[in-house]
């Protein structure tokens, strides 16, 4: 499918950044559209492009104006005009390279009580056994909408509506790194130990972010996450290797 480039509006958010906005509703179709456009832009960057941040309904391009404005192949005298022209040109490109190829990332998760701090509470809220909650949580596939909040934090969609859970009445001062949480229809994984009010159902031994890795963030927007339940023993084995 070709990204529909006519359905966006442009919002400059800085002299050095412009958002391509696709409506104001979270949807799988928009997520895929942003994902494809992101790939297309990164494969055919304009001069001065520094980075692109995908979010729920926006793709924000960061650039160096002094370089972009020197590119005479793009019509216009301002950065906005040149980017508008650039995006219009993208429509004429061969779109095959932007085919949707989501990476499936398997994330081991241990739901034992030491990690699933709020499983008991969720069990009573939803009138489901812990096993049923774990079943519902592991059978779904979770598309990554965006990375934000702290380095490597994925905003995941795809939660089974049965697990829609309120935030905790009082937030925890520290949620350990690797904790997997639910808040409303959102689910996410904490890369760093931070305060937070999400319901914690388990923990992954994987490092979600490591500045000294080739790709620091384990996940990127466009990936799809599958959780795989593991035992406490397996958690420890993986943890020791990962955090050595």
């Amino acid at each position: 499918m070709v990204p529909d480039l006519k359905k966006y509006i442009l919002h400059p958010i800085s002299e050095k950044a412009i958002s391509i906005v696709f409506g104001n509703q979270i949807s799988e179709a928009i997520r895929q559209q942003i994902s494809r456009l992101n790939r297309l832009i990164l494969a055919n960057p304009f001069l001065g492009l520094l980075n692109a941040i995908p979010a729920y309904t926006t793709l924000t391009l960061f650039f160096e104006p002094s370089i972009l404005l020197k590119d005479t192949s793009l019509k216009g005298s301002t950065c906005s005009e040149k980017i508008t022209f650039y995006l219009a040109q993208l429509e004429n490109l061969n779109q095959n390279e932007a085919e949707n190829k989501s990476r499936i990332i398997k994330i081991p998760i241990c739901y034992e009580e030491v990690f699933g701090l709020d499983l008991a509470e969720l069990s009573s809220i939803h009138q489901l056994s812990k096993e049923e909650i774990i079943q519902l949580h592991t059978e779904a596939a979770y598309p990554v909408y965006m990375i934000g909040f702290v380095p490597g934090f994925p905003y995941l969609g795809g939660l089974n509506p049965v697990l829609n859970s309120p935030r905790k009445a009082s937030p925890r001062k520290v949620i350990p790194a690797g904790s997997v949480g639910i808040a409303g229809m959102q689910t996410g994984i904490y890369p760093l130990a931070t305060p937070g009010g999400w319901q914690i159902i388990g923990r992954t031994p994987l490092k979600l972010f490591d500045a000294y890795r080739q790709q620091p963030s384990l996940l990127k927007a466009g990936d799809v996450v599958k959780f795989e339940p593991i035992s406490f023993t397996d958690f420890q084995k993986i943890y020791q290797k990962e955090w050595a």
Partner: protein, 331 residues
């Protein structure tokens, strides 16, 4: 070759121009809070304008030069002494080995920058030498400088640095008779130019009129952002929806649920969910960085086109300055 931190002051970190290569992985831009003073400090010692420097917060700083150094100090109003002798800022200064440099805060400003010819020998992490405190990486061991930390300088010097050093080097502290103009500090309300934010129309017209006619006061802040107190900015009744998290940048002015303003700074998150009423233009962001608790500012809208023009002029001014330092070093 290097220096030793004797007193680190409130918050001293290694910073450069910042990192943009990992924004999509939610790694903050970071970098010097006052990018203008930071660039000037580097240019004054003949460095590339993006070389890593030490950023200080207020005064209370003491540093021991462990070798001969060529330095420049630019930023907040500070009182600088080397071996108890007063030394002017905004110019290249030769510091002989074993000298003690002390920095104490005067009245205005908050952040200042110490550039050392050759730059600091700090490893690149994710393409930058800036310290990112939230995630504890970059800069000196991913943290603020502490008493006893020793920083080494890079050996290779630019031609400009070599020439400046040739002119100033001796057994005593020495500095040029020329300096460069920098921030004009005053206790008055600072006018800060902004461009409109994507959610500007979510706000009530009268509220927007107040937003640009009333002063706001800095209540508290850190490297991530500052809170402003003043008239709350109310939304139109028809625009009370939540904003889906989207990109924000240093300079973004967010309006929280109750109408209070938050101005995002260098270490801000890469995405946010509060409506963005405006964004401080790049060339005025250094002025905002220098405002301390209790200082006042007043916003003023300009067009994006004008902001872009001012940004390009600033880059050209820095290039001119680079050339003039080069020229003066050869005179």
């Amino acid at each position: 070759m290097g220096l030793k931190i004797i007193k680190p002051g409130l918050l001293s970190t290694i910073q450069d121009a910042g990192r943009t290569a990992y924004l999509d992985q939610a790694v903050a831009i970071s970098g010097a809070m006052d990018q203008f003073s930071f660039s000037l400090a580097n240019l004054l010692v003949g460095n590339d304008e993006n070389e890593a420097v030490i950023e200080f917060t207020f005064g209370g700083i003491e540093i021991l030069a462990q070798s001969d150094l060529l330095i420049a100090f630019v930023g907040a109003q500070e009182f600088i002494t080397i071996n108890e002798m007063s030394v002017p800022s905004h110019r290249p200064v030769f510091v002989p080995a074993q000298s003690t440099l002390k920095i104490s805060h005067q009245n205005q400003g908050k952040f200042s920058y110490l550039a050392i010819a050759g730059g600091l020998d700090i490893p690149l992490v994710l393409e930058s030498r800036s310290t990112f405190l939230t995630a504890n990486f970059g800069g000196f061991k991913g943290r603020a400088l502490q008493k006893g930390d020793e920083l080494t300088t890079q050996e290779s010097l630019s031609e400009t640095s070599k020439n400046l050093l040739k002119k100033l080097k001796g057994t005593q502290v020495n500095f040029t008779n020329w300096s460069i103009p920098t921030h004009q500090f005053s206790a008055q309300t600072q006018f800060i130019r902004i461009i409109k934010g994507p959610e500007l129309e979510w706000f009530d017209n009268l509220a927007i009129a107040d937003f640009v006619s009333e002063p706001y006061q800095i209540t508290d802040g850190n490297r991530m952002g500052v809170h402003l107190s003043g008239k709350l900015v109310q939304r139109k009744k028809s625009h009370l929806q939540e904003l889906l998290s989207t990109a924000v940048v240093p300079g973004t002015i967010q309006v929280s649920g109750n109408g209070a303003l938050i101005l995002l700074m260098a270490d801000c998150q890469t995405t946010g969910g509060y409506p963005r009423i405006g964004k401080v233009i790049e060339v005025d962001l250094p002025k905002c960085a220098q405002l301390k608790t209790g200082d006042q500012l007043q916003f003023e809208f300009i067009s994006l086109k004008e902001a872009e023009k001012l940004y390009l002029e600033r880059s050209k001014d820095l290039q001119k300055l680079k050339a003039s330092v080069q020229f003066k070093s050869m005179e």
